[in-house]
Structures are given as structure tokens and as C-alpha cells.
Amino acid sequence: MLRFILRRFVTLLITMLALSILIFGLSEVLPIEPALVILGRESTPEARAALSEEMGFNRPLPERYVNWLVRFISGDWGDSYRLGAPIQPLVMRRLLNSTILAALALLIISPISLFLGVIAGLYRARWPDRAISAGSLLTISLPDFVVGLLLIIIFSWWLKLLPADSSLRGADIDLAQHWRKLILPAVTAAFVLVGYITRVTRVSMIEVMDSPYIRTAILKGLPYRTVIIRHALRNALIAPIAIITTQFAWLVGGLIIIEQLFNYPGLGSLFADAARSNDLPMIATSSMITVSLIVFSQVIADVLYGLLNPRIRFS
């Protein structure tokens, strides 16, 4: 098990290294002249050249990559071109906002999708399964902005229950104060994922219920509840739980559309704004943070899978 975890962490490091090269490379090919972005169109070419020299943009590529990586790891993420302010506090605040939104979405997703998936798996090819399968196919087929829009129409404009605008107006997030603003974005995010997790759970449950050890459990004369709870769920939920873990990170960074739709100040909308305004350091930092989180969560998911599964735990 220790070997397994260590192995995963080593591949994590290699993947992260590949990612940093990728992100650095992408920001290099971006047809953006940083000095132009910072100084504006009215600046003189001489001034721009001087700034470029000062910022080290004329150094050889590998040197710049190493410098960038070292500074990134040490937490010095530089200043935003667009805002002229240090990136770090801004990214951290947005990260917190996104994390809260993602956590809320997962809180909705997990119980619903695990429950529905298990039910569908148990009643395979009968009406509960057909209904749940059709429903989950529908939810995974609806784009997030369509779902968000429908929710806004229903809950905001029609029922006037919840705000359509989730902007925090620069304030730090405060659950007691802002919880109403979080509901619609969280439900939208949940809607997109709930079908996926349900499908995964259903397949896993079907596989387990078809396995010889469930037959053994039934033919031992165990009560049906014991068969399901002790024998089936313990095996069937391992994979979905690991997948939910990886989805958490995806939710933190992948909510670009939803955050834009609801004007929610998260990491995704920060990235989208940066991409639109050619804000290089911001693009690099926010994407690096997001993908690191995602890769890390995949490792956590693998370790969790190993811990829940004695076949890996004792090997």
C-alpha cells in the first residue's frame, strides 16, 4: 500500500512538471506582448522595449521557465497586467469562493446520485431503472448554461424565490449572508454532474449484484438487507466515491460557464476574464492552480480507492 501511494505521488510530480511546461509553453505562444498590455497602446516602442528587458522577456526560454517555476513554487505569483495588483490574494480569495461552491454542489450530488444509482442498479431493466437512466441521460445531455438559464427562469423570474445574480460585490464570502446567492449556481453545477455519478454508480452496482459473491451471500440465507448493505454496497460504492473525489477539483476550476452566468466571483470567471484581457500571469497562475488541484485530487482518489479496497490495501 505504501508503495502504491508513493508511486502515485511520483507520477503526480511528473505530471505536474509536464503541466507546468505545457502552461508555460502555451503562455509563450500566446500572441501577447506583455509590455503592450501593461503600458497600453499609447506607449512608445522604446518604453515597451525597456520594460520587456527589465521583466526578463529577452532571456533564453529555459532560463525563463526555471525562473517562473521557482517563483511559482515559492508563492511569488507576480502582478496582474490588467489590475496591476499582486495576483496571490486575489486568486486565493477566488479559490475559496469556488471551493465553497464546489463543496455545496458535492453535498447535493453525492447522496442523490449514489442513492439513485444504487436503486437503478438494483432494479435493473425494470421501471425504476428505466426512469433513473432516462433522467440521468437527460441531465448529462443538458449544457450547464441551459440548465442555469432554466433555473433562473423558474426560480428567479417566475417564483421570485432566489436571486439570479450571485455577485458578491467585492466582499469576502460569508455563508450566513450569501447563502441564497449560492443555491442556484450550486444546483446548476450539481445538475450537470448528478447524472454522470448516477450512471457510474448504477454500472458498479449492476456489476456487483451479478458477481458470484453476492450469489454466495444470498444462498447463505442472509436477509436481503444484509446482502445489500454489507455485501453489495461495500463493493459497489468504492468506485463512485473515488470518482466523486476527483470531481471536487473539477468543480473548483471547471465552473467557468456557471460562474459567468451567475456573475459569481470564482476561479473560473477569474480565468475567463484573464483570457479575454490577455492577462498572462493571471492565466498561467489560475490555470496552474486549477490543474494542480485536479491532478492532486486524482491521486487522493486513487489512495482512497486503495484504502477502501482490501485487495490493494494489503498488497
Binding site: L2, R3, L6, R7, V10, S211, P212, Y213, R215, T216, A217, I218, L219, K220, G221, L222, P223, T226, R230, H231, R234, N235, I238, L308, N309, P310, R311, F314, S315
Partner: protein, 681 residues
């Protein structure tokens, strides 16, 4: 007295898009208390469906009718709660493949104790005491320790003993055993059968024992029923079935397995022609008629009844008297092709000091690796042209690796392979086209040895073209000739493998191996995944082709009798090393290596009166990553003589006629020890 199990006119149908499959037809049988009833048949004959029907655990698309009574209670009408109470308590079941029938995430103790908890009320300590008691009865070493383990931490043989303990825990009145030892190595199987045989006498329960292996049935059963295509076609006490088989199929089954001592030089193996009919389209009248030499119009006109042929003996055949009186009419075999000239003592293949080590990670991260897993650890052998070398051993002994190394599919770690003068100790990619042509292979699994996307004619034309065997315009003729040589006709040309049965696929694979006119064909377990009734046909075919085309064979198998039947020479392998090698007749008569002796005595003999020498190996095969010092076999050897076995590698003792035994025990001593106990070898 009411029988423990009474099945009357059981019918089970499976409904699918392809139609209705009649898995079990009109089956009636009874089992008394203390009796062991053997239900025999090939895969798909419905025997497992009978078990599921008794347990009331048929899949939803199955429908059954008839009567199943357990101690007089009608199971078919029993409410769910009553069934739950009976299952695991009064009726228990043991299946094939213990690994998958145990829950991977629960400890052994949990899985055993819940059986007690579900049916009886006991204190935890009482429950634990009973579990430990039962584990001791199934001869589990260190039961206390085992309780805390998870299934994957135990070997296959131990897992099966856990499953048996689980079934017997509450002393059920009826135990169903569905191929409980299939998939275990013979030496492990022998141990499990010993336990079952003792426990059935001690507990006096009724057992329904399902198996395809007549040897196992002969060993353990009181009464036997033979199933074919969903029907019971013969039923009798065990001695009668083996002494006077009264249905042509039963007779065929008994004759198509190489009996101990049978060699191709003595006689051809009888093979049942044709294949099992699909259950969705059963023939009119007798289901066996299309494969039966005695079949006549009366057989296909009406469905035969189960007729009484002797006391307690019945058969579903109108010609049963012919079968009993003139069995040779049914199992007539022509002798195999005569010996080709075997004078050519020129060796085709020389293997010296062959070692194949697999990589093992040395550190936690798997960065530093060393070839450390000694799969093949110093093997020498020669093979003259046109002869057959049989390589036999249990799973994990390295025999398949030897096949792959010869084929060039696995790299050699060290050692020499010389094949008709050229160096073959190199991977396939660096062999010349001629070398490739000279050595071909028949694989174990017919399902994966043919490309599902290529038609049979595409499959067979490819080697012809690669090796430029015939000009393009004669290609079709040659392919048809090849098909005919494996007893298939040209209707197969445009078929895909999915339209063929397992035996037919293996015939095509054999035709492909011989298509390029090789000098040596390596056969890696070529018949072990086929049904018993088609194994003999494929074995005969292989032998005929070999003699017609003057090819040498390396025949790898785990079944000692099959190897003995087809080989001129045999190598017995244990843990990557040869224990014994020599001419076939020499290997199977004293003196033998103690491991060969143990293998021979472990094989279940299809004769209920066989007196066999009960040599049992203890423990499991050690890991090739850490093989025992000295003689690899010393940890399990029943004839170990002392410290020398642990410290010194055994010398090659010449027993004459190129027969070598790698053992510390002097040959004369071995001979004396073994002649005393060997019976009917």
C-alpha cells in the same frame, strides 16, 4: 423414508432474443440422506442450471416447471422467508472458482460468522468456537490466523476450503457441489477431494456433486446421472456406470479420455464425432442421434424414454442392449498412423541452460528492477525431428513460458536454444523468415487465437502468402486441403470465428500452424479449454497431422495422461526446473522422481475400484521470486531424506535410455519404494 431431495419432471427454459433455450428437460432424480449423487455432463448440458433451480436462484429470463421437494417440502412453492431459512442452513452450495465467490472486502471470519448469525442464535465465543472447529475439519493450517485474512490473501486451495467450511458450518442436510475442484491444480484437487470424502462419511449428508470429470465422480460418488443436452440420459450406481455403460454417449465419454497407460502407439483415442446441439434448436427424437454410430430412423422418429436396463440402472437409448453387449461397435477406432522412421537421431532442437527471469522491483518506487523472478531456471532438453516432447507440470511451473521462449514471444535471460543449426535464443523480430516458418505454435485459448474480424479463409491464406508456400492461383485449393486435413469442409471458408464452436476454432488454429509446413509446432495446452468430448478428436488430429507432415511437437499440458498418450518423451517440470526427463514409458514406471509420483497419484482415476497410492503434497507451490534452496521440491517432498535436499541441488541420475532423474535419493532406493506402492501403472 422420504428422500432428502426429490426432483420430478424438472424443465427449465431460458428466454432470449435467439429463442427459447431448453436448458433442462424432464429431469427426475432423488437423493437419499447420506448419499452422494454425481451429475455429469459437458459445459452447457444443464447441470449447473439444475443446481440453481434447486436453490431457487434462477436468473429472471429463466422459467422452470416440475417439482422439487426437499425433505418433502415443495421448494418451488416455498415463500421467500422459508427459502431464506433453508439456504445456507439446511441446503448449502459450493461452486467452482472460490476466489470470486468470496466477498473481497470482508474478512474470512465475518463471512463465516454471518452464516451462523443468520440462522441460529449463539454467543460470539460459541460461534467462533464452531468456526474454528470447522476450519480444522477442512484441515486449514493455523485457523486463528486465517480468520483475520481477506480472501485474496489465501491461495486457491485454501479459498475453496473456506467455501466448503462455510457450506458445512451448520451441518446441512443437502450440499450441492458445482465443480468444486475444477480450476485447482491436481495435487491441490486431490487434497480437497480427500477432505470432502472424509466429511461426507462423517456428516452423513446428501450431496449433489456436479462435475465434468468422471475420475472425480468415480472417486467420490455413490450414484451417477449423466446429462446430455439438458436431459438425464443414463443413471446408475457408480460401479455399474463404469462397468456397464448403457448409453452410447456415456460409453463415449469414458473412452475419449486417455486412460492411464494409454499411448498413441497402442491405439487411437476414441472421439465422439460432431458437436453438442444448440439448446435453442434441439434435433427431433434422441438429442444424441446426430453424433451416434448406432443411430437409425427409429432414433430420430420418437423421443426415447429412460428405460430400465438393470436393477437401479436406466438409460435413454433404444439400442442400450447393443451398447452393453458390443461396446466396440460404438467406440470403434482405427489405429493411428504407424510410426514414421524414428531412426533419425539428429536433434532438431537443443536447449541448454535455459533461464527466463522476469523483472522484479527492488525499491518502493519500482525504479530499480532486477530479473529476479525465476520462471524458468536452467532447463536442458533435446528433441529429435518428428518426435513429440511432452512438457508437464502444475500451473506456475514455467511450462508455458518455455513455449513462449521457443516461439520467440518472451525474451531469454540466458542459455542456448539451437534449432536445426541456427540460434533461436533471440526474439521473434530478429529471426529470419525461414526460421519463422520452421517453428509455429498452437495456443491454449481458441477464442483468442483467431482474429474475430478475419474469415477462416483469410486466416489460413495469410501464412501461405507470408511464407510463399503456393502460387496465388493454387491458394484456394490449398486452403480447402488444409481445412479437410482438420476435418472441416469448405463451407467454413467464409465464416468468422464467432460462428464456430471451440473445437472447430482450435482445428482452424491447428491448420494455420501447419499451413507453412513447419518442422516444429509448439502446442501450449491445446486441448485444455475444450469440452471433454471434443478433446480426443483434436488430440488425434494433431497426431495425424504430425505424422503426415513429419513435424516435431512440443506438447505442453497439465494433464499427465494426455501428455503420456501423445508424447515420445516427457519432461516433468516443477518451479522452473526439470525434475525428470526421458522416454515416456520410462517416466511412468519406477523409478520416478517423487514429484512425478505425487502427480500420478493425484490424478482421479475413472474407475471406482482403482486402488491408488495416496501420496499427497502439503502446502503450496513456493514463489518463483524466492524458490527454496537446494532441491526446489524439498518443501513439499514426501520422500525428503534430509538436510542435503535443502542445501544441495540434486544431481542428474541416469536411469538408462536417456532417462534422467534429478533427485538425491539413489535410484535403486526409489525403485524399491515405488514398486511397493504402485498399482496398475
Amino acid at each position: 423414508m422420504t428422500p432428502v431431495l426429490d426432483i420430478q419432471n424438472l424443465n427449465v427454459n431460458y428466454h432470449s432474443s435467439r429463442g427459447i433455450a431448453r436448458a433442462v428437460r424432464d429431469l427426475s432424480l432423488t437423493i437419499e440422506g447420506g448419499e452422494t449423487y454425481g451429475l455429469v455432463g459437458e459445459s452447457g448440458c444443464g447441470k449447473s442450471t439444475v443446481a440453481l433451480s434447486i436453490m431457487r436462484y434462477l436468473p429472471r429470463q429463466a422459467q422452470d416447471s416440475g417439482g422439487i421437494r426437499f425433505q418433502g417440502r415443495d421448494l418451488m412453492q416455498a415463500p421467500a422467508e422459508e427459502l431464506r431459512h433453508l439456504r445456507g442452513n439446511r441446503i448449502a452450495i459450493v461452486y467452482q472458482d472460490p476466489q470470486s465467490s468470496l466477498n473481497p472486502v470482508l474478512t474470512i471470519e465475518r463471512q463465516l460468522s454471518e452464516v451462523i448469525a443468520a440462522h441460529e442464535e449463539h454467543s460470539a465465543s460459541e460461534s467462533r468456537r464452531r468456526i474454528l472447529d470447522m476450519l480444522e475439519r477442512v484441515r486449514m493450517p493455523d485457523p486463528q490466523y486465517i480468520l483475520g485474512r481477506y480472501p485474496h490473501q489465501l491461495s486457491g486451495g485454501m479459498q475453496q476450503r473456506i467455501v466448503i467450511a462455510m457450506a458445512l458450518l451448520l451441518r446441512p442436510d443437502l450440499v450441492i457441489m458445482d465443480e468444486p475442484t475444477t480450476g485447482l491444480d491436481v495435487t491441490i484437487e486431490a487434497g480437497v477431494l480427500d477432505i470432502l470424502d472424509d466429511l461426507r462419511r462423517e456428516f452423513k449428508m446428501a450431496i449433489l456433486y456436479i462435475s465434468h470429470n468422471l475420475g472425480v465422480i468415480a472417486r467420490i460418488c455413490d450414484r451417477v446421472g449423466i446429462m446430455y443436452a439438458g436431459e438425464l440420459i443414463e443413471q446408475a450406481p457408480v460401479n455399474d456406470i463404469f462397468a456397464h455403460p448403457s448409453h452410447p454417449y456415456t460409453l463415449g465419454l469414458l473412452r475419449c479420455v486417455p486412460r492411464q497407460g494409454l499411448r498413441y502407439t497402442n491405439e487411437a483415442l476414441y472421439s465422439i464425432p460432431g458437436r453438442v446441439p444448440p439448446l435453442t434448436a434441439l434435433p427431433q427424437g434422441c438429442a444424441f442421434a446426430p453424433r451416434c454410430v448406432l443411430a437409425e430412423s427409429a432414433c430420430t422418429a420418437a423421443h426415447p424414454r429412460l428405460e430400465s436396463t438393470a436393477q437401479d440402472h436406466s438409460a435413454r437409448c433404444i439400442h442400450w442392449e447393443t451398447v452393453v453387449e458390443q461396446p466396440e461397435r460404438v467406440t470403434f477406432t482405427r489405429p493411428l498412423s504407424s510410426q514414421t522412421d524414428q531412426n533419425s537421431e539428429k536433434n532438431l532442437l537443443n536447449v541448454r541452460g535455459l533461464k527466463v527471469y522476469f523483472m522484479q522491483a527492488l525499491d518502493v518506487l519500482g525504479i530499480r528492477k532486477r530479473p529476479n523472478i525465476k520462471v524458468v531456471d536452467g532447463v536442458d532438453f533435446d528433441l529429435p525431428a518428428q518426435r513429440t516432447l511432452g512438457v508437464v507440470g502444475e500451473s506456475g511451473c514455467g511450462k508455458s513460458t518455455i513455449a513462449k521462449v521457443l516461439a520467440g514471444l518472451t525474451p531469454v535471460t540466458s542459455g542456448k536454444i539451437e534449432f536445426s543449426g541456427s540460434d533461436f535464443a533471440k526474439p521473434i523480430e530478429s529471426r529470419s523468415s525461414d526460421s519463422l516458418q520452421q517453428l509455429q505454435m498452437v495456443f491454449q485459448n481458441p477464442d483468442s487465437s483467431l482474429n474475430p474480424r478475419h474469415t477462416i479463409s483469410q486466416t489460413l491464406s495469410r501464412p501461405l502468402r507470408r511464407f510463399k508456400i503456393v502460387p496465388q492461383d493454387q491458394e484456394n485449393e490449398t486452403i480447402i486441403g488444409l481445412l479437410r486435413s482438420v476435418n472441416l469442409d469448405e463451407s467454413y471458408l467464409d465464416r468468422y470465428p464467432s460462428q464456430l464452436s471451440g473445437g472447430e476454432k482450435q482445428r482452424v488454429a491447428i491448420a494455420r500452424a501447419f499451413a507453412g509446413n513447419p518442422e516444429l509446432v509448439v502446442c501450449d495446452e491445446p486441448i485444455s479449454s475444450l469440452d471433454v468430448s471434443v478433446q480426443a478428436a483434436v488430440l488425434n488430429l494433431l497426431h495425424e497431422l504430425q505424422h503426415q507432415r513429419k513435424v516435431a511437437l512440443v506438447f505442453i499440458a497439465h494433464d499427465l495422461n494426455v501428455v503420456r498418450y501423445i508424447s515420445d518423451e516427457v519432461a516433468v517440470i516443477y518451479l522452473g526446473r526439470i525434475c525428470e526427463i526421458g522416454p515416456t514409458d520410462r517416466i511412468f514406471s519406477p523409478p520416478s522422481h517423487p514429484y512425478t509420483e505425487a502427480l500420478m497419484s493425484a490424478i482421479p482415476v475413472a474407475d471406482p475400484n482403482a486402488q491408488i497410492n495416496p501420496i499427497r503434497l502439503s502446502g503450496n507451490v513456493p514463489s518463483p521470486a524466492n524458490p527454496p534452496t537446494g532441491c526446489h521440491f524439498h518443501t513439499r517432498c514426501p520422500r525428503k531424506i534430509g538436510a542435503i535436499c535443502e542445501t544441495h541441488e540434486p544431481p542428474a541420475q541416469e536411469a538408462g535410455d536417456n532417462h534422467k532423474i534429478f533427485c538425491h535419493i539413489p535410484l535403486d532406493e526409489l525403485r524399491v519404494l515405488q514398486t511397493d506402492v504402485m498399482v496398475k501403472m
